[in-house]
Structures are given as structure tokens and as C-alpha cells.
């Protein structure tokens, strides 16, 4: 036990002191932290000339962009102008009386942000320099035109103003009674979590494999194996790397969370993101369980297979089957998620098979219909198999680390396993 703790400490320390590991962690923290600050920076840059008081989003204080307005069609131009101003509250609509080419020039010069020229009941021109990525004005103007056309037509058909308003601004009272889950809301965080699970297992699993293989190829194993029990070596490595990975993840997520809280107003004005991120505590608990178990079951397989390799290059080939299974499982899960049917027979089977359950069951919990006892069965099966695979892996590891030369065939591995018991 003491030996195991020493190995664990050493392995954990190895990664915490590893330059590449530190650099990647810091880089990721920066990317996440700064990434979430970007909206704030954009906001700052855009409001620079307007006000020094950056965080303030008070509309009255800032100058509104001016939109030139020409109406060559309507009889009541003033009413038309009022309608546009009403529907575009974040613009200042100015009635101008100049011809089109001059308007174009003014827009180009930046005198007006854009211009609207109404040329008929169903015709208009929107004059603008650059259409921005999220230019909502364009769509708004179209809607205003449709609205205006309807109002005009209804009134010409003899309806009163109130009647038209009633018809056009009808409000329907409705209520959604939800018995299952809101797949859309859950989809986003489930997607993120499944992706994180994929990356964590892949990344740290491979780290375990290459750690084992490099100890073997550098022959440091010759000394290690004569100084410590193979099982201590393997479990120490797997858990050590797991802890290092956890540390890395916690740091990156914290950086994201802190940055999110600091920049909340800028990222998430509508509160949509907060709503999406409002993950139930039980989901987080399940996530942790499946993360930990998923990591262990794969890390054990990686460690056992890597122990059979004499060189680091052989290791890649040896762990390939496990990686492939894992990638296929990831694709199946992702595809079921986007199809919306996470309770298909395939997913049901996958959610109980220990190798696939960390992802499949997790997705079914967040997005599908699954009974509590099913979750428990799946977790118990997973724990059992993780322990079983851990035991088998330490057996393979014990023999594997002493094998050099030709990589043994699966049948030979079984034979050795049997004779070593």
C-alpha cells in the first residue's frame, strides 16, 4: 500500500511537472477564459467612441445609428415613418427628401448607417454598406413592409383601425405541458459532456498507454519491476494519471466558470445560456460517475495492452482495437443524439454493455426515458466490469512488462494468464 502511494505520487508529480502538460493546461485555461471574454472586448471596442462607461447598456445615453427614410409611395408618409420608428426602436429613422443616388453616397460616406426607400406597396430598397453577420434590420424591414401592406389592404377593404390591429396583433394563449425532457435544452449540455467524456478517455487513456510503453522501451521497467509489485505499478500509474487529468480538467473548467460569471452580461444578455447551463445536480453526479468509471475501464485496457509492446511504436497498433471500439461507440451515441431517438434498441443494449455504457447510459439519462433501476443496473455492471478488467489487466501487465521481442498473439496471452494463476 505504501508502495502504491509512492508510485501514485510519483506519477502524479511527473505530469504536474511535465512542461508540455503545464503549457497545454495554461493554454486551455487561457483559451476558455479569454474566449468567454471576447463578447465583452467587442462590446468595449464598439462603445469606445460613445462612452467610457463600457458596461452600461442604457439606450438613451448612446447615440442611435441613423437610418434615412424615403417613401415615394404611401399617402400618409408621416404614419409610415412612425410605424418604422416604432418597429425599429434601436435606430433613429430620419425622413429625407433626396434622390436615390445621393442617398447611396451618404450611406457610403457614413452619414447614415443605412437607408430604406419605399417604392411601392410590396416594393422597397434597403441601402447599406456592408451587411453584417447578424444584421437583423434587413429582416425587420421586410416584416414591417408586410405588416404595412396588410394594414393598408385591410383598411382599404373597409376594416377599422382597431379591427386590423386585433387581427394582426392576435395573441394566442397556450401552454406546453411537458412530461418528459426538453431534448433541445438538454441536447446542448449533453453534447458538451459526451464530447468531454470522449476527449478525457481518449487523451488520458492514451497517456497511460504511452507511459507504460515508454517505461518498457527505456527499460526502466527492469528496475521498477524488481522494486515494486506490478499491480502497484499499474494502479499507481492509472490513478496517478487520472488525478493529473482531473486536476487539469478542474483548472480549465474553473477558468471557464470564473470567466463566465465575470462576463455574464455580455455573453448571455437573453439568459438563454444560463437556462441551458442550468444542469440538474443529479446529472452532474451521473456525469462524474461515468467519467471516473469510463476512464478506469479504458485506462486498464490501455495499460494492459501497452504492457505487451516492446516499443512505443508497437503500442499504437496494440491499443488500436480499443480505440476503434471507443470511437464507434462515440459515433453511435452522437448519431442517436442528433436523430433524437436515444432510446433505440441499439442504444438500450449499449447502455448496459460496460464498454459502451459510460456514454450511452449517460445520454439516455439526460435525453431519453430510462428508469432509475436501469441506471443502477448499468452502473453496477460497469463497476463490476471495471474491477474485473482491472484484475485481468494487472495479470496481463505483470507478464507483459517482462516480455520483449515479438508481440504475443491473443491466444498466447490467454495461455500465459491461465498458467500464471
Amino acid at each position: 500500500m505504501k508502495q502504491f502511494i509512492n508510485i501514485l505520487k510519483f506519477e502524479y508529480g511527473t505530469y504536474l511537472k511535465n512542461k508540455a502538460f503545464i503549457i497545454i493546461t495554461i493554454l486551455m485555461m487561457l483559451i476558455v477564459g479569454v474566449g468567454l471574454t471576447v463578447p465583452r472586448i467587442i462590446d468595449m471596442v464598439e462603445n469606445k467612441k460613445g462612452d467610457t462607461n463600457v458596461g452600461d447598456t442604457d439606450v438613451d445615453d448612446t447615440e442611435l445609428p441613423i437610418v434615412a427614410f424615403v417613401d415615394n409611395f404611401s399617402t400618409d408618409i408621416q404614419a409610415s415613418l412612425t410605424l418604422f420608428q416604432e418597429k425599429l426602436p434601436d435606430k433613429e429613422i430620419v425622413l429625407v427628401d433626396i434622390d436615390e443616388s445621393e442617398i447611396k453616397k451618404s450611406v457610403e460616406e457614413g452619414k447614415y448607417e443605412s437607408a430604406v426607400v419605399v417604392t411601392g406597396a410590396k416594393n422597397y430598397k434597403y441601402i447599406v454598406n456592408d451587411i453584417k453577420m447578424y444584421d437583423t434590420t434587413r429582416d425587420s424591414i421586410k416584416e414591417i413592409m408586410i405588416y404595412k401592406y396588410r394594414v393598408d389592404t385591410m383598411q382599404s377593404l373597409g376594416l377599422s383601425m382597431d379591427q386590423t390591429n386585433d387581427l394582426l396583433n392576435v395573441e394566442i394563449q397556450g401552454e406546453v405541458v411537458q412530461s418528459g425532457k426538453d431534448q433541445f435544452m438538454n441536447f446542448i449540455y449533453t453534447y458538451v459532456m459526451v464530447f468531454a467524456l470522449y476527449i478525457v478517455i481518449m487523451l488520458y487513456g492514451q497517456l497511460v498507454a504511452s507511459g507504460v510503453a515508454s517505461e518498457k522501451s527505456s527499460r526502466a521497467m527492469e528496475l521498477l519491476i524488481t522494486s515494486a509489485k506490478p499491480s502497484s505499478l499499474m494502479f499507481g500509474k492509472v490513478i496517478g494519471i487520472g488525478l493529473a487529468g482531473l486536476t487539469q480538467m478542474v483548472l480549465i473548467i474553473s477558468s471557464g466558470v470564473i470567466s463566465f460569471i465575470l462576463n455574464k452580461d455580455f455573453i448571455d444578455g437573453s439568459g438563454m445560456l444560463s437556462q441551458v447551463l442550468d444542469i440538474p445536480a443529479s446529472t452532474l453526479v451521473y456525469m462524474l460517475i461515468f467519467f471516473v468509471l469510463g476512464y478506469f475501464i479504458y485506462a486498464f485496457m490501455y495499460a494492459a495492452l501497452a504492457s505487451l509492446a516492446s516499443r512505443v511504436e508497437d503500442m499504437t497498433t496494440l491499443v488500436m482495437p480499443v480505440t476503434l471500439i471507443f470511437v464507434v461507440m462515440f459515433m453511435v451515441t452522437m448519431m442517436s443524439m442528433s436523430s433524437g431517438n436515444v432510446d433505440s434498441t441499439l442504444m438500450k443494449v449499449c447502455s448496459f454493455l460496460p464498454i459502451t455504457s459510460p456514454m450511452a447510459m449517460f445520454v439516455r439519462i439526460t435525453m431519453g426515458n430510462v428508469k432509475f433501476f436501469e441506471i443502477i443496473i448499468s452502473i453496477v455492471l460497469l463497476i463490476g466490469s471495471t474491477l474485473g478488467i482491472g484484475y485481468l489487466a494487472s495479470g496481463i501487465y505483470r507478464m507483459g512488462v517482462l516480455l520483449y521481442g515479438k508481440t504475443p498473439k491473443p491466444s498466447e496471452i490467454f495461455k500465459m494468464l491461465k498458467s500464471s494463476r
Binding site: E215, R219, E222, T226
Partner: protein
């Protein structure tokens, strides 16, 4: 302290690697474990170190089953290997800790051994930055960090220059003086002859010869004489003509003229007859086989 391995056997996947190996090693003495490649030396060493158990047989120290927590074993593997990208002091300390030391003692001992081997300047260097010979010395230091009671050295001299070889010889001699059990495995017979009182020769998983090296040599028939002379031709002629009754074989070797007598008891007669002839003789001695000859004799196919 006496280490005894008794009737060790081991099979890997139906292949019998060791067939009833028995060894004895005494503290304060070095024991040479010899054998051709694949004879089973490493397997024997691994069983002694407890990497895996033998299929049968026991290992005892002073009659009691070996307790590897109590008696520490330092091992210099033939395939050298440490962490290439770790600082030397750090990995030496780690290896000491794995052997059951606390980290402070392990550190102190590491520094001590680095000093003894003249490697202090590399304390905080990474292993890969060192030359091969220096890596070898670090490996030796790592073997001895835990202050082991039993030291197993597998080809310790390979890759060392004469100065470093001398340093290693001194260290090994110190270990012997400090009353440790030293197990020595090498194909460089001169080193074995220099250090080892006892040897065991393994061939195809069996001990084919073991015991005190001097006694083994003495046990050879002492009927072969080596004569050193500037007049070898004349002596050869004389043996062939006048002494053909007692001389049954003649051979010119680099050592001198090798004369095989028909029996060891004829030695004195041969000497007096030869000396009467008044040849210019530089020296004459009874031939003893070298360890090399013995090794080849016992392990040849």
C-alpha cells in the same frame, strides 16, 4: 549470511527454462553466475528477486525463507534502463523510496553514491544528457541507493572505459569487504576470475558446474606441463625421441610448449630428465585451465 536457492524450476508456456537450479552464495564473497545466452541466468535472478515465483524450489537466507522487505536486493540489469527524461537525483530517490526507504534517506543515499562515483555534477541533469559510460555509472548508483544486502550485477563492466572499470572494481571490492552477498553475472571471464571465489555455470536451464573456482581448477588432471623456453624446437625433439614413453602429447601454444604427460605422477621424473639436458628454460609450470576453457568445455553443444 548465506543465500541458498534450492531446486528452482520454472517453465514458461510449457518450455522448461530452469530445471532444478541450486545455488549458494555467502556474504563477503562474490559468486559468479555464468552461462551462455538464454541459459536461464536472468530467470534465476528474477526468481531470487521475487519478480515471479519459481514453479518449485525455495530461496532461503540463513535457513529461513527469504523476506525481501528485510533483505534488500540491489539489481543492475543487463539491459540498462532508467527514466531518460527525469533528473538523476529525482529518479534515484524514487527508486530508493520504492525499495522502502523514506524519501529523506533515499535522497541522502543518492547523493552519497553520486559522490562516490564522481557524478556529483550531474545530480540535477536529465539522464539523456549524459554519455553512455556515465549513464552506466548512474545505473550502478541507482542499484546501490537502497544500501542492499544482496547485490546482483549483470554485466557490470560492459561499456566502461578502463578508468571507470577500475572505479567499479573498487566499489565491488568494497561491497565484498562490507560483507554483502555479491552475485556476478558476466561473459567477461577475467572479471569473474578476479572477483569470484565461487562460480556456477548454467547451461540450458541446468547447473553443469558449481563450486569454488580454485578447487575446480585444481580438480583438473595435473599431468599437463607448460614449458617456456627459447629452445622449444630442441625440447620438442627431445620429448619425441627420448621421452616418448611418458609424453603423450605436444602442442605449441601462445603460452609456451604444452606437454601432456601420461600421468601426473611422472611430473618429477620429467622435470629431472629435462633439466639434465641443460636447455635454456625460462619457466615451467603445471597447466591449469582458465575459466574461459572451463566455460567452453561445459557449455559447448
Amino acid at each position: 549470511m548465506k543465500l541458498i536457492a534450492n531446486n528452482l524450476t520454472k517453465s514458461f508456456a510449457e518450455k522448461e527454462v530452469l530445471q532444478s537450479i541450486s545455488l549458494e552464495a555467502q556474504s563477503g564473497q562474490a559468486m559468479g553466475l555464468l552461462g551462455r545466452n538464454g541459459a536461464g541466468k536472468t530467470t534465476t535472478i528474477r526468481i531470487i528477486m521475487g519478480v515471479f515465483p519459481g514453479d518449485s524450489g525455495q530461496i532461503t537466507i540463513d535457513g529461513e525463507k527469504i523476506n525481501r522487505d528485510k533483505f534488500k536486493i540491489g539489481y543492475l540489469p543487463e539491459e540498462r534502463g532508467l527514466y531518460p527524461k527525469k533528473e538523476i537525483l529525482e529518479q534515484m530517490t524514487y527508486l530508493g523510496v520504492l525499495k522502502g526507504m523514506n524519501s529523506k534517506d533515499a535522497r541522502k543515499s543518492s547523493i552519497k553514491w553520486l559522490e562516490r562515483l564522481g557524478m556529483t555534477e550531474y545530480t540535477n541533469k536529465k539522464l539523456t544528457t549524459l554519455s553512455k559510460g556515465n549513464q552506466q555509472k548512474i545505473q550502478l548508483a541507482a542499484t546501490l541507493v537502497s544500501n542492499p544486502d544482496i547485490v546482483i550485477l549483470d554485466e557490470p563492466f560492459s561499456g566502461l572505459d578502463p578508468v571507470n572499470a577500475m572505479l567499479l572494481k573498487d566499489v565491488v571490492k568494497e561491497l565484498i569487504v562490507e560483507d554483502k552477498i555479491v552475485l556476478f553475472s558476466s561473459h567477461q571471464m577475467n572479471y569473474i576470475e578476479e572477483f569470484c571465489d565461487n562460480i556456477a555455470i548454467l547451461n540450458k536451464g541446468k547447473i553443469v558446474l558449481s563450486g569454488n573456482l580454485k578447487e575446480i581448477k585444481r580438480s583438473y588432471d595435473r599431468s599437463k606441463m607448460v614449458v617456456l623456453s627459447t629452445q622449444q624446437d630442441k625440447i620438442e625433439e627431445f620429448c619425441k625421441t627420448s621421452l616418448n614413453k611418458m609424453v603423450v602429447g605436444l602442442d605449441r601454444t601462445a603460452d609456451g610448449l604444452m606437454i601432456q604427460l601420461d600421468s601426473a605422477s611422472k611430473k618429477n621424473e620429467f622435470l629431472s630428465l629435462l633439466s639434465q639436458q641443460n636447455y635454456d628454460i625460462d619457466g615451467m609450470y603445471v597447466y591449469e585451465p582458465s575459466l574461459n576453457d572451463i566455460f567452453v568445455e561445459y557449455t559447448e553443444d
